[in-house]
């Protein structure tokens, strides 16, 4: 049997979920016996290959058109999609901007911040527009596995991946559902 192909991408995210994945430490060596890491944010290959992967992992919420497109691309090119971390599951802390309209958010960020002098809201054809609201991945594409946590613990991530390797759909309960190693 060939290796299982896994791709990941971060969307509107602090990168903490990918850090938590790396916290599986030396278990990554064991994992790589069975898994081929395809595209990730830190590999040369940035997008899942056209021929597709077995498992796609998305971290972060969806707050702009580019992220929406990334989520759709991953969904199209993977068999099982994991929304990893609170932002991917519910939009997470990024949804705090949903209490304001996007214009207000940009103005606050680029003009009204206390340290800004003569600020302006950047406009350029290369800049992707914000969506009206930040969403979870599941609000844009169907998700197969939700792994909440801010971030989910390395053990929880390990549990989900190893369950999939065993051919089971992971059922999250107990400690792996709680975020923080102490279940707080």
């Amino acid at each position: 049997m060939g290796k299982i192909k896994v791709a990941s991408q971060w969307l509107e995210s602090c990168a903490g979920c990918h850090m938590s994945f790396l916290d599986i430490d030396e278990r990554i060596v064991e994992l790589l016996k069975y898994v081929e890491l395809s595209s990730t944010p830190i590999t040369d290959l940035k997008h899942p290959p056209e021929e597709g992967v077995d498992v796609g992992i998305l971290t972060g919420g969806i707050g702009n058109e580019e992220e929406k497109a990334e989520a759709k691309l991953m969904r199209d090119r993977c068999k099982i999609l994991i929304a990893l971390g609170d932002c991917a599951v519910t939009g997470g802390i990024c949804t705090m901007r949903n209490f304001f309209d996007t214009e207000e958010v940009l103005r606050r960020g680029y003009i009204e911040t206390e340290s800004t002098v003569d600020g302006e809201i950047p406009h350029h054809e290369d800049l992707t527009p914000l969506t009206d609201r930040v969403m979870g991945v599941g609000d844009v594409v169907p998700v197969d596995i939700y792994l909440p946590g801010c971030p989910p613990s390395a053990d929880a991530i390990w549990f989900v991946l190893t369950e999939l390797l065993e051919g089971r759909m992971p059922k999250l309960e107990g400690k792996v559902l709680k975020y923080g190693s102490d279940g707080g």
Binding site: A83, D86, V89, T90, G92, I93, T95, M96, N98, F99, R133, G136, G138, D139, V143, Y146, L147, P148, C150, K171, L172, E173, G174, L177, K178, Y179, G180, D182, G183, G184
Partner: protein
């Protein structure tokens, strides 16, 4: 009450008639999840978490309100029940703005616990992202409606326990909000800051300003002790971490207050601003300077034997300290007394306990302001009034209880209160030092049937009485010894202090401490061990939740050491 037999999850359970399914299950160690239910509050049946299947009954039943009956067959965790609970949790999480990642209750939150229990890894309903303002207009605790699940525990606590009726609901459906009075900021409302709502909130909607983020339940230490802020003597659950005072909670099912506290017991002591006396001080060349205990006690022992002396205590300390104080002065042939005035007995009636107020039919209040000084008794009077008790306030001045009393009478009209009491069941007279002789005379016909609750203004009045300390004025002696504890002197006392050699035993600096010739430090409430005797006459234990500062000694110990030195 008769025994009934039912099965819960196939297990035979014996319950009492009148018990709910939830109560029967609890007795049988079967855990049914709840959110709106709280053992100290009336059952509500609002949150639908406690739904169970009962054979033969249509739909699912709220076990917190459904009475257990003979032969009932209950299932608490069927597939159907679990699916409904999960559905309810999804609705609760999607309705408002629950951000566990930065909520101070994360880890201790009843809503979060249930999400974990039922494996809620996401929810499917869209969130409205309604913008809700946090209300931080109160000093001691904050209301964040974003985290409110409208369980109404706070509202019931405010009405049923504190009998203050500040909290209520505004609007209906998705627009429903918990509000104070007619939707005014909490800090401008009729809230008395007793904090009972804070203690029963299952989520992070009510936030204690002091303890938020200070430590989760698994990190903290709980120490049960007795409140020393007034003579009621409520049980306290003191929460600490790393020798830091985080929070004070009430203790359900404790006497006399049943978990109810007031702002003076729950919050104010955590915001103490006075400067602490951290070690003995003696006056040298006109200045108070730090000294060792042996030196300071040596000077005191010598002074007490060298001339006439008088000891005056605020009854703000332990039974043990007051007894040791009286003993010391007996030994040196000095007078010893208490500083606070004492409530004289009325000469009729039977001694009431604090809880007698709760089931009274008529309550007569006179010469006392319990809403100001023994607040829990004030709230108890409100609670009794809610239950239909007639409250008569006899006063020639303003009294906070008048607002909800059946009648407010002048001293001259006191007889009308006796008329009201005639033929009524249980009559309780609550009185204090300001009672007028003509009122005592007018109330005398109530006779020995009446229950009499004397609100002594001193915190440990009963302890002082047991030690034989009666009110005294400072007299013209060579040495004056003041045992203040945490109570700083009032201006009237200070004005009466003469040029005697002054020894002051106090926890905090004050003008009297600063004039003293010898200062001995004392512990504060949260550091105390020993006992305090409350209004009900029960000697309640004190347990130290924090260590005393290194150079502080308990008064009883210091006074005993002095007695030994005098020999």
């Amino acid at each position: 009450m008769s025994e009934i037999h039912l099965t819960i999850n196939g297990k035979p359970v014996v319950a009492q008639s009148g018990q709910t399914i939830l109560e029967a299950a609890k007795q049988a160690d079967i855990d049914i999840p709840v959110l709106c239910h709280h053992p100290a509050l009336a059952n509500w049946g609002a949150c639908r978490m406690c739904l169970v299947e009962v054979k033969g009954m249509r739909g699912l039943q709220t076990s917190c309100t459904c009475p257990a009956t003979e032969g009932m067959e209950v299932e608490t965790e069927t597939e159907k029940v679990v699916a409904v609970r999960k559905f309810v949790l999804e609705l609760l999480f999607s309705e408002r703005n629950h951000y566990c990642m930065y909520c101070q209750m994360s880890g201790d939150c009843e809503l979060q616990d249930l999400a974990y229990r039922y494996g809620l890894d996401h929810w499917t309903y869209p969130r409205p992202f309604e913008k809700m303002e946090v209300d931080a207009s109160r000093k001691y605790f904050i209301m964040d409606p974003n985290r409110c699940i409208l369980c109404s525990r706070c509202i019931r606590a405010c009405s049923e326990i504190a009998a203050n009726h500040t909290l209520g609901l505004r609007d209906r459906g998705a627009r429903t909000m918990v509000v104070a009075d007619l939707d005014v900021p909490f800090g401008e409302s009729t809230c008395v800051e007793c904090g009972t709502c804070l203690q029963v909130c299952p989520t992070g909607a009510l936030i204690d300003a002091k303890s938020a983020y200070g430590g989760r339940e698994k990190d903290v230490i709980h120490t049960q002790t007795t409140c020393m802020q007034c003579s009621v003597g409520c049980d306290l659950d003191v929460v600490t971490r790393y020798q830091r005072l985080l929070r004070v909670d009430g203790v359900w099912e404790s006497e006399p207050s049943g978990g109810l506290l007031c702002v003076d017991g729950r919050f104010k002591p955590l915001y103490e601003k006075r400067q602490r006396v951290t070690g003995p001080l003696v006056r040298k060349d006109g200045k108070l300077v730090a000294a060792g205990w042996n030196e300071a006690l040596g000077i005191v022992a010598e002074k007490l034997q060298s001339g006439s002396c008088q000891g005056l205590a605020y009854c703000a300390t332990t039974d043990e300290a007051l007894t040791a104080f009286a003993r010391l002065f007996a030994k040196v042939d000095g007078a010893a007394g208490r500083i606070e005035p004492q409530v004289a007995p009325l000469g009729f009636g039977q001694v009431a306990k604090v809880q007698d107020v709760l089931d009274a039919d008529v309550i007569i209040v006179t010469g006392a302001q319990p809403l100001e000084y023994q607040r829990v008794i004030g709230y108890f009077i409100h609670r009794a009034a809610d239950q239909g008790a007639q409250v008569a306030v006899i006063t020639d001045d303003e009294n906070g209880l008048s607002a909800r009393a059946a009648m407010t009478l002048t001293s001259a009209e006191a007889g009308k209160a006796v008329e009201t009491a005639a033929g009524a069941g249980k009559v309780v007279v609550v009185y204090g030092t300001e009672i007028k002789p003509e009122v005592i005379a007018a109330l005398k016909p109530l006779g020995d049937e009446a229950y009499i609750l004397a609100l002594d203004p001193a915190r440990n009045a009963q302890g002082a009485t047991a030690a034989g300390l009666q009110p005294q004025e400072p007299s013209d002696v060579d040495v004056l010894y003041f045992l203040l504890g945490e109570q700083s002197e009032d201006a009237a006392l200070l004005a009466k202090v003469n040029g005697a050699f002054k020894i002051v035993q106090a926890a905090y600096h004050s003008p009297l401490v600063d004039q003293a010739d010898v200062v001995l430090p004392t512990p504060i409430w949260v550091e105390r061990t020993g006992h305090v005797t409350n209004l009900d006459g029960s000697a309640k234990p004190l347990h130290a939740a924090l260590l005393m500062p290194e150079n502080v000694r308990d008064e009883a110990e210091a006074l005993a050491a002095l007695a030994d030195m005098i020999g």
